[in-house]
């Protein structure tokens, strides 16, 4: 058997960043802003999807309200650390994905809207929160732990709708995947340096995101080969 040099894993894991340094706060101002903007976008997107699915509007409004609650929680996290979120950066960060959502909405494309919001953004959030929790400050950790549970509910909503309608929207989903998954990859690249300051590793973020996304695609009913092909679009480009 090979013998591998095992570093002190415990030490690596308990190695929390210093939350009081300017470097940490600077990076946090952008990461936190992305989270706040993400929750705001999610709220707006669920309300918007409700206009395309009037019979679901009530349910979607409930989901949207949860996102606003999350947004408030994350705003409190910034206040707690004495950080002002860089919202201008965050708006720009979400712009390409936001534009694609707006275009799909205008065209009445429910599957594309759900793929962007309920699958991609939620899977992105879930993976990022999971990786953030072990390295978060105690205040933010508690809030994030509460939020991550809700995000699964949202992912599940999108999954269920798409599962029920897969036959009629398979091609649209594949196209939406091709159009939007590379954007997620670029967004992750864009925040990699700031995330690293928070002790969040880019490799972890991408892999965990893809795991959550692949699980959703499995649930919806894509075959394992189709899923591997769809997910691969995130790894290159």
């Amino acid at each position: 058997m090979a013998t591998l040099e095992a570093p002190e894993l415990d030490a690596a894991i308990s190695n929390l960043p210093d939350f009081t340094t300017e470097t940490y706060k600077d990076a946090y101002s952008r990461i936190n802003a992305i989270v706040i903007e993400g929750e705001q976008e999610a709220h707006d997107n669920y309300i918007a999807i409700g206009t395309l699915l009037p019979d679901q509007a009530e349910e979607l409004t409930k989901l949207a309200r949860m996102e606003l609650k999350h947004m408030k929680g994350f705003t409190a996290c910034a206040n707690n650390l004495g950080v002002v979120a860089d919202m201008a950066f965050a708006k720009e960060f979400f712009a390409p994905l936001h534009n694609n959502f707006t275009t799909a909405l205008a065209a009445g494309k429910v599957p594309t809207c759900l793929l962007i919001q309920a699958l991609l953004i939620e899977a992105f959030a879930i993976s990022a929160y999971h990786i953030y929790i072990p390295v978060a400050d105690p205040f933010a950790r508690k809030i994030t732990e509460g939020v991550v549970k809700d995000e699964y509910t949202h992912l599940n909503y999108g999954q269920e709708w798409l599962k029920a309608n897969l036959d009629s929207c398979r091609e649209e989903l594949e196209q939406a995947n091709r159009d939007n998954l590379p954007l997620i990859r670029r967004m992750l690249d864009q925040v990699a340096a700031d995330a690293a300051v928070l002790h969040m590793d880019k490799e972890d973020l991408i892999e965990d995101f893809l795991i959550a996304y692949q699980e959703a695609l499995t649930e919806i009913g894509f075959s394992t080969r189709e899923i591997a092909r769809m997910a691969a679009a995130a790894l290159v480009g």
Binding site: T3, L4, E203, E207, T224, R225, A228, A232, G237
Partner: protein, 355 residues
Amino acid sequence: MFGLIGHSSSFAQAQAKARELGLEEMAEADMLAWCSAPPQLLETFQVTSRTGKTIEGTYIDSCFVPEMLSRFKTATRKVQNAMEMAQKQGINVTALGGFTSIIFENYDLSKFQQIRNTILEWERFTTGNTHTAWVICQQVERNAPLLGIDLSRAKVAVVGATGDIGSAVCRWLSQKTGVGELLLVARQQQRLLDLQTSLGGGTILSLEEALPQADVVVWVASLPQTLSIDHDSLRKPCLMIDGGYPKNLDAKVAGDGVHVLKGGIVEFWQDIGWQMMEVAEMAKPQRQMFACFAEAMLLDFEEIHTNFSWGRNNISLANMELIGDASLRHGFQAIGLNPAQLSRAAQGGVELAAA
């Protein structure tokens, strides 16, 4: 339902496999991208025992490649994520193949049971080492006599004797087979002394001391690429069982009375409708496989849904017998020296390469 967690034997091979599966992006992607690739459930297939019982299995590629070994966090994540996937699929027993069990053991991943929102249930996994150890012992017992080696008088060196498989092989060879003398080779002296005490015998030697004396060498340690073996100093005939991973002994020493057999490989009684053993470079990929994978099948056939092989040095002779009996009953056979090797052995001629 059983599961197999595996990986490609090199990055180049992983890319080639991705291309074959129609994953052009993955085939083109660089190593960094592969480091972020999630595990993939690549196929589901049925296996029918010689008894007629049919079970269903799933192959999960961890997307690990040996080039990632130097990246501790990446290697760890690949194993944990593949295990989480197996558990979420509801698989009863999954074998950790190739490097994945080595990574699990050496990085002590049993300390990390929570993966995101999943608590890994260890009873769903097996290293497969009990079956591997049994198969290696079978390979020694059956093939040494074919080369004219009398095991009751032979010196058998076990390289990697203190490891999980190595120590089990030592116990079996000394208590069941009854070999002439066991030569114990490993790096850690204290573990060697403990093993010697528990066996009630065996001679502790360095690799350089052991090799020229051994009629049979069981390798259950990975060989460093730089290891050179002085072929002239080896006994002839000499049976070498390459039970390490990866299997790279053949090119180093086979030939001129030195016979190398791939250790811990079994052949099933009929073809299996799977494609994944091609990545393991088996001679007959439709029916040959690592014994550790076969252990997951055996446990499922026998409905022993527990972590049968787990931790270090827990393999008992009773469990080796149990899995060995099941192995024969369900139609597995340890691979042996092929006819070409045996005929060369009979002629005392030059052996080019083992199959």
